[in-house]
């Protein structure tokens, strides 16, 4: 339940405020009804819920980007003039997820390349063919290349993080300037 609650944080704030509590309630009810099912059915259910939330949240963010008032991408708080601004947690989660997927994809690709080399070898004889591995973590022999690519993405991630922080700081300073602005002089 806590995991589902955490996943709901991926949705834009406005959406969460509107539907979050209700979604949690429905999830609770469906989970309770799933207790009668076997472990496989429960696993399928939880995976389906996870996928639904991930795709749903991504869709909502994309929709918010295309909306006439696109500020919703940063959460509805962006529309209000608050003196304090926090870094968007959704952004951190998405950036980490994207980084993880990219690194895993590279690892998998390297694993497949390694399998192909092993299967078709230098001589290229068909008798030595070894079936391709379907394992998610198929570590390649060439660690150097993998590490350098991973480092590249880590550096990109850090750079994006810093850029985002700067952008949010600038936004905050703008709000502070508004606080200091003089009001229209009163006429007597």
């Amino acid at each position: 339940m806590r995991a589902y609650e955490s996943l709901l944080r991926l949705y834009p704030r406005g959406y969460r405020e509107e539907f979050g509590e209700e979604m949690l309630q429905v999830f609770r009810e469906v989970s309770a009804s799933m207790q009668r099912e076997g472990p496989m059915a429960r696993a399928v259910f939880y995976l389906s819920e996870m996928r639904g939330v991930l795709f749903g949240a991504a869709g909502e963010h994309i929709r918010a980007l295309g909306a006439p008032h696109g500020f919703e991408f940063f959460g509805k708080r962006s529309l209000y003039m608050q003196p304090e601004r926090r870094f968007s947690k959704t952004a951190i989660v998405f950036m980490t997820l994207v980084l993880g997927v990219i690194v895993l994809t590279i690892v998998k690709a390297q694993g497949v390349a390694y399998d192909m080399t092993r299967s078709f070898g230098a001589k290229g004889t068909a008798g030595q063919v070894v079936p391709f591995s379907n394992s998610l973590f198929d570590w390649p022999s060439d660690w150097g290349l993998l590490l350098s690519i991973a480092m590249f993405f880590v550096i990109t991630w850090i750079a994006a993080f810093v850029a985002w922080t700067v952008a949010h700081s600038m936004r905050r300073s703008g709000v502070h300037r508004l606080d200091e602005a003089q009001t229209w002089p009163q006429t007597r």
């Binding site: 539907f19 209700e22 309630q25 429905v26 819920e49 639904g52 939330v53 795709f55 749903g56």
Partner: protein, 109 residues
């Protein structure tokens, strides 16, 4: 008749059908969709609420607080606009089915 802005997907059609006869809350919609599709379509809560948000945005459904339950759950009911869209979609499907039957019968003859 009102023109549809976009094609209706099967889950959306099933949600509309679920709300056609009476207002329902989220869990009841999920179960009804599963029953109607004989277990073939099992909506996740993410998919359900994504669809409900779009339907609310199109004014095809509206919210109402379910007074029958002690917790005052939100339930959803179809609007007259939503009903018109559903009727239009059903008419389109009827026409398509009629055409398909004709073509299949002609092929078999």
């Amino acid at each position: 008749m009102e023109p549809m802005t976009e094609s209706i997907t099967e889950p959306v059609l099933l949600i509309l059908l679920s709300l056609a006869d009476q207002p329902r809350h989220g869990y009841a919609i999920l179960k009804d969709v599963e029953t109607m599709s004989e277990g073939r379509v099992r909506l996740s809560t993410g998919t359900l609420y994504g669809a409900l948000r779009r339907l609310l945005g199109e004014d095809w459904i509206e919210r109402s607080v379910d007074r029958d339950t002690s917790r005052g759950k939100q339930s959803y009911r179809m609007t007259s606009k939503g009903r018109r869209v559903l009727q239009q979609e059903v008419a389109r499907m009827k026409q398509l089915t009629r055409l398909a039957n004709l073509r299949v019968a002609r092929k078999e003859a």
